[in-house]
């Protein structure tokens, strides 16, 4: 059995964490070939070759593959698909954009956000915002799978897989890149951070979010937000933790002024230690918290920032 794994490559840079987690998830399925595709992807391929468990690395460089436009990237994967039983990727927005297109072109179903591998045909995945876990068996000849990164540990490095170049992409002409607006930040990435500090509607305003950010910076943590905080304009959408945002599983998750709606819990309940600070003692967040503190966040958060 052979696996083709689409590595997460953005502007020529490998996202090691997401890719290495998908390698861990794929190991039980067979030999893993990692595909690094992009306008430039050679450096990413070199780095991917060090992931333990990567048997081979393919590199495809072509301007048409830049910015991960779905049409050209999907065509490339389909052209390589013949040799593989599983086509997989970490469940990033890029992979979710590309893989269903690949699946339809191969006339197979998509398996999105898989959180567990039972065997080569059988997978577990959360449905209903993580309120149920479904085990499904695929009858398709090829399986197209995205892996929920929060459910797997990253594979180590130290390997030295061979890197092979494969032919470029066809230019689809269907879409073109215009611009990226990347949030500039020195903080760790939300989905791979060891500690996440999140604020909810209780924080009250965009200015007050500085309290959350200060605590996060003291801890070297990423900043998250509930959907209520994002919808209220207190925080940008790419901070959103939850079913409709990012799914995280850090060692420590600190929820501040977050009530704990089902949709938020779906995005963070796999965190190792959960701390909740909320002035409402009835808030559902306390039911999933390891440590709960009923307090006014405007007093408790600065005090916590001071004492840590």
């Amino acid at each position: 059995m052979a696996v083709l794994l689409l590595a997460e490559v953005n502007n020529g840079v490998l996202s090691m964490d997401a890719t290495a987690k998908a390698v861990t998830a794929s190991k039980a399925l067979g030999d893993v070939t990692v595909l690094c595709a992009g306008a430039s992807a050679a450096d990413a391929a070199k780095e991917a070759a060090t992931i333990d468990g990567a048997a081979k690395v393919l590199v495809a460089e072509d301007p048409a593959l830049g910015h991960r436009l779905a049409e050209s990237t999907a065509d490339l994967i389909v052209s390589l698909a013949g040799d593989y039983d599983h086509i997989v990727a970490p469940a990033t927005t890029d992979a979710k954009n590309v893989l269903p297109r690949v699946a339809a072109l191969l006339d197979v179903m998509m398996l999105t956000d898989v959180s567990g591998v039972v065997d080569a045909d059988t997978f577990e995945r959360p449905i209903y915002a993580g309120n149920a876990i479904q085990t499904v068996k695929s009858g398709d000849a090829k399986k197209v799978v995205s892996f929920r990164t929060a459910s797997f540990d990253a594979a180590g490095t130290g390997g030295s897989a061979a890197v092979e170049t494969v032919g470029g992409a066809s230019v689809s002409g269907l879409s073109e890149w215009v611009e990226d607006k990347v949030a500039e930040s020195d903080r760790p990435e939300l989905t791979s951070a060891g500690i996440v500090v999140s604020g909810g509607r209780g924080v009250g305003s965009e200015d007050n979010f500085a309290l959350i950010e200060k605590l996060a910076d003291k801890l070297g943590a990423a900043v998250g937000a509930s959907r209520a905080a994002v919808d209220s304009g207190f925080a940008p959408n790419d901070w959103q933790v939850g079913q409709t945002g990012k799914v995280v599983a850090p060692d420590l998750y600190i929820a501040v002024g977050i009530s704990g709606a089902i949709q938020h819990l779906a995005g963070m309940k796999d965190s190792k230690i959960i701390v909740a600070i909320n002035k409402d003692e009835e808030a559902p967040i306390f039911q999933v918290a390891d440590y709960g503190l009923v307090a006014d966040l405007f007093e408790a958060v600065p005090e916590l920032t001071d004492k840590l």
């Binding site: 436009l69 927005t93 699946a103 209903y128 479904q134 068996k137 269907l174 879409s175 990226d180 420590l252």
Partner: protein, 252 residues
């Protein structure tokens, strides 16, 4: 230009989901059902395009059980002009997979010839996030997923997409499939007069067989289980106590 908007009937997003004790699925009997929230955003965007003079007609389509006609009536009450119901299942517990839905939609597109398909990025029941991309692939069209801004300009559309770490803007060739994300707009509520008017708008009923599409699932559900519960934690009385606990655990 005609805009086609696929809508799905799903469990209402405010309803607490309960897994059936026998592990056969989620309990949907006597549960409030509504339009998938992402699809509501797609309907709203289509109506706004019409109001802005960029679209002439908005056609809503739903694939599933017969009861999905309620979902279509909601779309009509919001402002869609007509609706197509494709009955593909008898039992409310039978979910039609995105691949089969995309194949049926491709046939509807052949018939209707829309210039744009606007769909939700995912349904909140199976959370598959696949139908739009699959439809686009089958049609050989361009795609723009997770849209937070859509601008139609002649034979192309400029779409801003919500991606990990920020936003990406792309320009796609029309006709195209756009899947919409949460921040694109805030869907309107249907007014009572519009709900009454919607009852008179045309709603065609078809079956999957009419389109020659086999909806047999490719994935067999082995079991459905409730997620692992977290053990109850403890309440701390002060910040000092919290800091002490976290230090004890080596968390900070």
């Amino acid at each position: 230009m005609k805009v086609l908007v696929p809508v799905k009937r799903v469990i209402d997003y405010n309803v607490k989901v309960r897994v059936k004790a026998d592990g056969s699925g989620v309990d949907l009997a006597n549960v409030k059902m509504s339009m998938n929230p992402f699809d509501e955003i797609a309907v709203e965007e289509a109506i706004r395009l019409k109001e802005a003079g960029k679209a002439e007609e908005v056609v809503a389509v739903s694939i599933g059980v017969k009861q999905a006609q309620e979902t279509l009536r909601t779309a009509l009450a919001m402002g869609a002009d007509r609706a197509i119901l494709v009955v593909a299942a008898d039992d409310v517990h039978q979910d039609i997979e995105p691949l089969a839905v995309a194949k049926i939609l491709a046939k509807v597109v052949e018939e209707e010839q829309p210039g744009l398909v606007l769909c939700g990025k995912q349904a909140i029941d199976n959370d598959m996030n696949a139908t739009g991309q699959m439809l686009s692939a089958i049609l050989g069209w361009s795609q723009a997923t997770f849209a937070s801004e859509v601008g139609i300009d002649g034979d192309s559309a400029v779409v801003t997409r919500e991606v990990d770490g920020g936003l990406q803007t792309i320009k796609v060739k029309m006709p195209t499939v756009v899947s919409v994300d949460l921040r694109l707009n805030e869907p309107r509520y249907a007014s009572l007069p519009n709900i009454m008017k919607a009852k008179k708008k045309p709603l065609d009923e078809k079956t999957a067989a009419d389109y020659g599409v086999d909806v047999t699932p490719r994935l067999t559900v082995v079991k459905t289980s409730a997620p692992a519960e977290r053990a109850a934690g403890e309440m701390v009385g002060s910040v000092d106590e919290l800091v002490a606990k976290l230090k004890e655990k080596g968390a900070v």
